[in-house]
Symmetry: C2
DNA sequence: TTGTAGGCGTTATCAG
DNA sequence: CTGATAACGCCTACAA
C-alpha cells in the first residue's frame, strides 16, 4: 500500500539505515548515494510516516494549544485568529503542527495532561492563563514539560501578555490631557487579574496627576454591553457625574455610549470615552472610540519562539514579555466642550 | 522514565498482549484479570502512548483543519471559533484531536498533502472551499482520503454551507414587505461564488414580486467598509436612487450607513438597509442592522459528524447540507417614511 | 561510507 | 482465556 523506507532501500539497493540517513541529511553519506536515493524516493513518491518517526524519536513534532471553548467572550476568542497565526508563523516553518485541545468537557481521567502530555501527543503547550491554572503549571514544571502561557502568570512560568497597567495609564492620561478632569472606570470583575491590572493603571494615572480617586466612580460589572449600559445610566444621572469614562472593553463602551445617547449627553462634548481593545467595535461606533490596540500576532510569535526554545532546550529559563499597547485616538475623546 | 505497557505487564505478571487487551477492553479477558491489571495501571500511572498506538493501528486519531491564515477577512476568520467549537464537540468525545494546518506558506514540496495526509498525521480533513480547491479535492478522492468541505463545492464532494441564495431572498423580500420598492445590492466580487449565490437570491426575490431588475443598482466592490461607502455615495446622490440596500457584509453596510449619514439620508426612513451576517457589527451600528444569522456551530458539528462517518466508513457517500439562515429584524429596515 | 541489529510502545495473529 | 511473536515504519548504535 503505502511505500515505506524498506521499499526505498530495496529499490535503491541499500540498507534501510542508509535511507534513513539520507532522509536526515547525515554527513556520513556520500553525495552520490544521497542523490541516487533521493531520486528514487521521488520516483516512488515516498513520504516518511511522521508517526513512525515520532515513535522512534520520542517526539510528536506537535504543540498543543489549550482553549476553553465554552467561554464565548474569552480573551482567546477575540484574538484567537491572530495569536494562532503568530504561533503558526514560527512553528510551521520549523515543521511543527498545532493541535487544538478543548479543555472544557474533559473530566479528570480524560484531562489534557493525560490526553496530550503524558500521551506524548504534543511536545509542548501554549495556553492562556484562564485555562492553564497555576496548579497545572506546577504540575507541568514538575514533569519538566515545556509550556508558555498567554497572559500573566506567577513568576515561575514563562508568559507573554500585553501591559494592561500601562494601558490603563495611557487611556486615563489621554483623557486628562484632552481636558477631561474626572474620569470614571467601568466594567470588570474584582477578582479578575486583568481587571485589577487595568484599574491599577487608571489609579496610577489619576494619582500621578494629583486627582483624587472616587471609589464610587469605579464600577464593577460584567464587561458586556448590557452592564456597561446599566452602570453608565446610574453613574450619569447623578449631579456630580464623571466627565469621562475608561471602559474595560469595547462592549462596555458601547453600553456607555447608548446610555449617554439616551440621557442626551453628548460624546465627546459632555462625556469622553476611552476603551480597552480595538476589536471588534472601536472603529465602528458613533462616534468612533479612542482605544488601545495590541499586537496580538506578536504575542503569538513570541510565545511560539519561547516554546521552541524550551523544547529544544536552548533556553529553559522562565521569561516574560509585556507588550506595550498602542493608543488609537478617535473622536470619542476629542475633548470637553468649553 | 516513562512507564510502558511492558512495565505494567511485568508488574502484573502477565504478557504485554494481555495488558493491551485489557486496555482495549477485549471480551476475551477475564474480569478478574482486567480488574487486577487496571489496578496496577492506575498505581503505576500508566498512560498509553498515542504515537505507538497510532503506529500499530495505522491511524493518528487526529483530523486536520486547513486554514489560510493569510486572509484576514476570510470567512473562516469570523466564524472560526464557533465552527471549530462545533467540530470539536463531536470529535473530542470520540477521542480525536484537531490539528490546525496553515496552507498559506507551504510550497509544493511542503504541501499539506505531504505534510498531513501522506504523512499519516491526520485521518481526515475539514477545510473551507477557498482552501480546498477542486483540484485538491479530486486528489483526495483519488487517494480515497476522508474530507468534508465547509462551503459549497462541486457535486462529488461532501460539504456543508449555509444557504446564501435563500439569504439573498430573505433579505430582499423582507425589504419589499417592509414597503421598500427598489432595493439595490452592494458589495462582492463577480467571480466569488458566495457573491453570485447571494445576488441570485436577491434577483429571485425581485422577479418573484414582479419588480424590474436594474443592473446599475448592483454594485460590485470589495465587501469592506471603504468600498461600501464609496459605492453608496455614488448610488445615493442620483435622482433615481434606490430606497433600500442589501449589503454583502456587515462592513459594507457600515460603509453605506456612513454615506447615508453624510448625505443626510435617514435610515430607515429614507433608506432601508439589510445585511448578510450577524457578526461582528449588526447589533452595534446606529441604527442596528437587520441581518442574517447563521448557526456556525451547527456547521461545525455537521462537518465533524460527516467526517467521522467517512473515517469509520459508516457512510462514504457524498452529502451536502444547506443551512437555512435566520432573519434578525432590527431598526435599519423599519420601513420607509410615508 | 555503508550495513546489521535492536529498539521505540503498541496491536494483531496465532498457538496453547 | 492467556502468551509468544511478529508486525507498524523509522532511528541509532555499533560493526564492517
Amino acid at each position: 500500500m503505502k511505500v515505506t523506507i524498506s521499499d526505498v532501500a530495496r529499490a535503491a539497493n541499500v540498507a534501510k539505515s542508509t535511507v534513513s540517513k539520507v532522509l536526515n541529511d547525515s554527513p556520513k553519506i556520500s553525495n552520490e548515494t544521497k542523490q541516487r536515493v533521493r531520486e528514487i524516493m521521488k520516483q516512488m513518491n515516498y513520504i516518511p510516516s511522521s508517526i513512525a518517526t515520532g515513535l522512534a524519536r520520542q517526539s510528536s513534532q506537535t504543540v498543543g494549544l489549550l482553549v476553553d471553548m465554552s467561554k464565548e467572550s474569552e480573551f482567546l476568542n477575540q484574538f484567537f485568529y491572530n495569536i494562532i497565526g503568530g504561533i503558526e508563523s514560527v512553528m510551521g516553518p520549523l515543521g511543527y503542527e498545532l493541535t487544538l485541545c478543548n479543555i472544557q468537557h474533559h473530566d479528570a481521567e480524560d484531562h489534557f495532561l493525560n490526553r496530550l502530555v503524558l500521551n506524548q501527543r504534543v511536545d509542548g503547550i501554549i495556553a492562556n492563563n484562564s485555562v492553564l491554572t497555576e496548579e497545572l503549571a506546577k504540575e507541568l514544571d514538575r514533569l519538566n514539560f515545556p509550556y508558555v502561557s498567554i497572559g500573566e502568570m506567577e513568576p515561575a512560568a514563562s508568559w507573554v501578555d500585553f501591559d494592561n497597567e500601562a494601558g490603563g495609564r495611557m487611556l486615563t492620561r489621554h483623557l486628562l490631557e484632552q481636558g477631561y478632569c474626572s474620569p470614571a472606570f467601568i466594567g470588570g470583575q474584582r477578582n479578575e487579574r486583568i481587571f485589577s491590572r487595568r484599574l491599577s493603571g487608571y489609579l496610577q494615572a489619576l494619582k500621578q496627576s494629583g486627582r483624587l480617586v472616587r471609589q464610587d466612580w469605579i464600577v464593577n460589572s460584567q464587561a458586556d454591553e448590557h452592564e456597561g449600559y446599566r452602570s453608565a445610566l446610574r453613574l450619569l444621572v447623578r449631579e456630580d457625574r464623571p466627565d469621562s469614562v475608561v471602559c474595560m472593553t469595547n462592549y462596555t463602551a458601547f453600553g456607555v455610549l447608548k446610555a449617554a445617547r439616551e440621557l442626551g449627553i453628548e460624546v465627546p462634548g459632555q462625556l469622553g470615552i476611552a476603551a480597552f481593545d480595538e476589536y471588534p467595535l472601536s472603529r465602528y461606533t458613533t462616534p468612533p472610540l479612542t482605544s488601545l490596540n495590541i499586537d496580538t500576532f506578536k504575542l503569538g510569535v513570541t510565545s511560539g519562539q519561547w516554546l521552541m526554545d524550551h523544547i529544544r532546550e536552548n533556553c529553559t529559563a522562565s521569561r516574560r514579555l509585556l507588550l506595550e499597547p498602542e493608543l488609537i485616538v478617535r473622536e470619542s475623546t476629542a475633548g470637553p466642550a468649553r
